[in-house]
């Protein structure tokens, strides 16, 4: 919707953004050809997770925080497990880490396929949604759905179900899958490897507007491989810090037009997510992924958020390869979990959600009850850069007609695959959206 202000200014307003997770809107004011105000409006009602985590047992955050987001529950479960295990001074054995990574690969595959084909591709091909797109591009939509399904099946196999898996616990899993159970999904994953390569080739053909993002990137870096389930924060400005120090660098601010908090890194705007991971971890991708990325026209660093759809494709391919590797190396007969006896203390954890780094921090009392909880999801970290991109995009394409400009701006938001459900969970104030 657009309208003209009394003084001749112009307002672009989208009340309800489509094809994003959760409820948000966009508001842009333009006067005399200059973009004056830009807002990503987050009016999803807050659900107060951090408030009601207080007083819960140290075993509960994986199940409870999963419910913050139905699209990336494993990101929450994994970061919660690391944080509680850190608070209790427990380390999990390497095979538990491997299974966390395998489950997480399922979430990356599912979430990236969902975003690439059902949410983002319609922007490039000019459709309202994937169902409309399927009429003219059935092959592309079927490819996306097939990939998405493998991700969901991997999550169900390891976690019990694709949304809010039941098999994750602090210290490990309730039950380990056997080698023969895991073997059942191998043919589908092998097909998915070809599908992922086809997906990368397909999205590489889209038209990408020229756009460069100047902000620092932050992502985790793992000891081995491309960071998924764990790692240490690093940035393109050369900063690195242990996960346990995240609150010293990352601060959250409440902005009035939003039911979410916005985060800054040492006071500055920064970006997390696929572009950050890719740019900071290109050397850790497999040769096949690197080659596919180059063939799709990417360099070792990517600063154009419109191209994030290709980067998601490369990460999807990587997740499929990793899943195959972990299954291939899986050995039966090991313990499903280690005990995590509670103790008083504080612990932090982080993982790479499909949309970017997620941080959790818990403080426990001696009996293991939570006295304080803090969760910093990717979308609140990206919110300031989304608005900055929106401003730059609106200014760059100001000569487009309202309809086109609005669409371009919506696309600038969807580049981030923003998860508004995630971004609003933690506010302890009640903000009336009316």
């Amino acid at each position: 919707m657009t309208h003209t202000m009394k003084d001749g200014g112009q307002v672009l307003q989208v009340g309800m953004l489509a094809r994003v997770e959760g409820e948000g809107g966009m508001h842009i004011e333009i006067r005399d050809g200059v973009v004056e105000t830009v807002r990503l409006e987050i009016f999803e009602p807050p659900r107060f997770y951090e408030a009601f985590l207080r007083g819960r047992a140290h075993t509960e955050p994986p199940d409870i925080t999963a419910r913050i987001c139905g699209i990336c529950p494993v990101a929450y479960q994994t970061a919660a497990c690391w944080a509680i295990e850190a608070a209790c001074g427990v380390e999990v054995p390497p095979h538990v880490l491997a299974l966390r990574r395998l489950l997480y690969c399922g979430e990356w595959i599912e979430s990236h396929a969902l975003h690439m084909f059902l949410l983002h591709a319609p922007d490039f091909l000019g459709y309202d949604g994937a169902v409309e797109m399927a009429a003219d591009h059935p092959g592309a939509v079927e490819l996306g759905l097939r990939l998405k399904k493998v991700g969901n099946e991997l999550m169900s196999l390891v976690g019990g179900r694709a949304i809010h898996p039941v098999n994750v616990r602090v210290g490990g899993f309730y039950r380990l899958p056997t080698r023969s159970e895991l073997g059942r999904i191998v043919p589908d994953l092998e097909r998915a490897r070809d599908d992922a390569l086809a997906a990368i080739r397909l999205v590489a053909e889209f038209d990408f507007p020229e756009f460069t993002q100047p902000y620092p990137y932050l992502a985790l870096r793992a000891e081995r491989g491309y960071a998924i389930e764990s790692g240490t924060p690093v940035t393109t400005s050369g900063l690195t810090f242990p996960v346990s120090d995240f609150t010293r660098h990352i601060t959250e601010h409440h902005v009035a037009h939003s039911n979410a908090l916005q985060a800054t890194l040492d006071g500055e705007i920064y970006v997390v997510g696929p572009l950050a991971r890719y740019t900071l971890g290109f050397d850790r991708l497999s040769p096949t992924c690197q080659e596919a990325a180059r063939a799709a026209g990417l360099e070792e660093s990517c600063r154009n958020p419109f191209r994030s759809i290709i980067v998601r494709g490369v990460e999807l391919l990587y997740a499929v390869e990793e899943a195959l590797r972990i299954i291939d190396e899986w050995v039966d007969g090991r313990v499903a979990f280690v005990d995590v006896p509670p103790r008083a203390g504080e612990g932090c954890g982080a993982s790479e959600a499909p949309r970017g780094t997620i941080f959790h921090r818990y403080v426990l009392d001696g009996s293991g009850l939570i006295t304080d909880a803090q969760i910093v999801p990717p979308t609140s970290q990206n919110q300031a850069s989304i608005e900055a991109d929106l401003r730059a995009a609106a200014q760059a394409w100001i000569d487009l007609d309202d309809h086109e400009l609005t669409h371009r701006c919506e696309q600038a938001i969807r580049n981030y695959d923003p998860c508004i459900s995630c971004a609003t969970h933690f506010l302890d104030l009640q903000v009336d959206r009316s």
Binding site: M16, L17, A18, R19, V20, E21, G22, E23, E44, P45, R47, F48, A51, F52, R54, G55, R56, A57, E60, D63, I64, R67, I68, C69, G70, I71, P73, L114, L118, P122, D128, G129, A130, V131, E132, A134, V141, E142, L145, R146, K148, K149, N152, G160, R161, A162, I163, H164, V166, N167, R169, Y174, R175, A336, L369, S421, Q430, D432, R433, S434
Partner: protein
């Protein structure tokens, strides 16, 4: 009716995690045929296109937590032929209904100048507390097979087959070893409505009640069993007070345990947050 005489489907979101509506997009094999059988008239998570109401079928995810949403659900009811609530948020207020326990601490009237206004804001309520509901799907999240059965039944004009027995029956159907009997694992299966296919016991885990209370459940007996299996009163209370804390049977039983507890084992303060 939507275009070409096809029934129209709308998907609405209230306070929720999006997981239940994602279940619809997770029907990868069926999605395109569903889209062929109905007009997807309103589903912002999937499409920018909006077809004006009225809608033949509305799926409602999430709970009511703001005055604006309390009005919005009335409008949606007025525009909808069949209204179906999907998931624990919509059917019981969801995990965010834990805030409702704030009244235990009696902070509202102390903190707010207008408690009558804050009341709505301060509670997370199920959709059925506001409008009449034609069908409900339980679960946090809902089960994909149940969603497909419901849509198929609505399209065929028949009653959906949604079982109302307990998770225990599904465990037997699946041939699971009972985790409660075999390992003494606390399990809410006997009092939880079926629908998930006895998922947790299949993963050597006790059910934590994400499908909410089964109709004829004997909660006091469940509590005795959980206590005998070594759970403390605060643990039992927390188990009832999670994803279906607002469902009447779980709410009442947790309250009963709170009231019956002796000092030092479970104070209201300890269990209410």
């Amino acid at each position: 009716m939507g275009t070409a005489g096809k029934p129209s489907l709308a998907v609405w979101k209230f306070a929720s995690c999006d997981g239940c509506q994602l279940t619809l997009l997770n029907c990868e094999d069926e999605l395109l045929s569903i889209a062929g059988a109905v007009t997807i008239a309103y589903f912002p998570e999937a499409t920018r296109a909006v077809v004006e109401g009225p809608y033949d079928v509305s799926l409602v995810e999430g709970s009511v937590t703001t005055p604006h949403d309390a009005e919005r659900i009335q409008q949606i009811r007025a525009m909808s032929g069949t209204l179906v609530t999907i998931g624990a948020c919509a059917t019981a207020g969801g995990i965010q209904a834990l805030r409702n326990l704030g009244d235990v601490r009696e902070f509202r009237s102390v903190v707010y100048a207008h408690p009558e206004y804050v009341e709505t804001l301060d509670r997370s309520t199920p959709i059925a507390a506001h409008v009449s509901v034609d069908h409900e799907l339980r679960g946090c999240p809902i089960d994909k097979r149940q969603l497909l059965e419901l849509l198929a039944a609505l399209l065929a004009g028949r009653k959906p087959r949604i079982p109302t027995y307990s998770v225990c029956i599904e465990c037997k159907e699946r041939g699971n070893v009972c985790v409660a009997v075999a390992d003494g694992t606390p399990c809410l299966g006997p009092v939880t409505q079926a629908g998930c296919g006895a998922l947790c016991p299949s993963f050597a885990r006790g059910c934590y009640g994400c499908f909410g209370p089964q109709d004829s459940a004997n909660l006091p007996s469940m509590t005795r069993r959980l206590r005998a299996q070594g759970m403390s009163e605060p643990q039992v209370i927390r188990l009832y007070r999670t994803f279906n804390t607002g469902a009447e049977a779980f709410r009442a039983e947790s309250q009963r345990v709170v009231s019956g507890s002796t000092a030092g084992t479970a104070t209201a303060e300890e269990v209410s947050t």
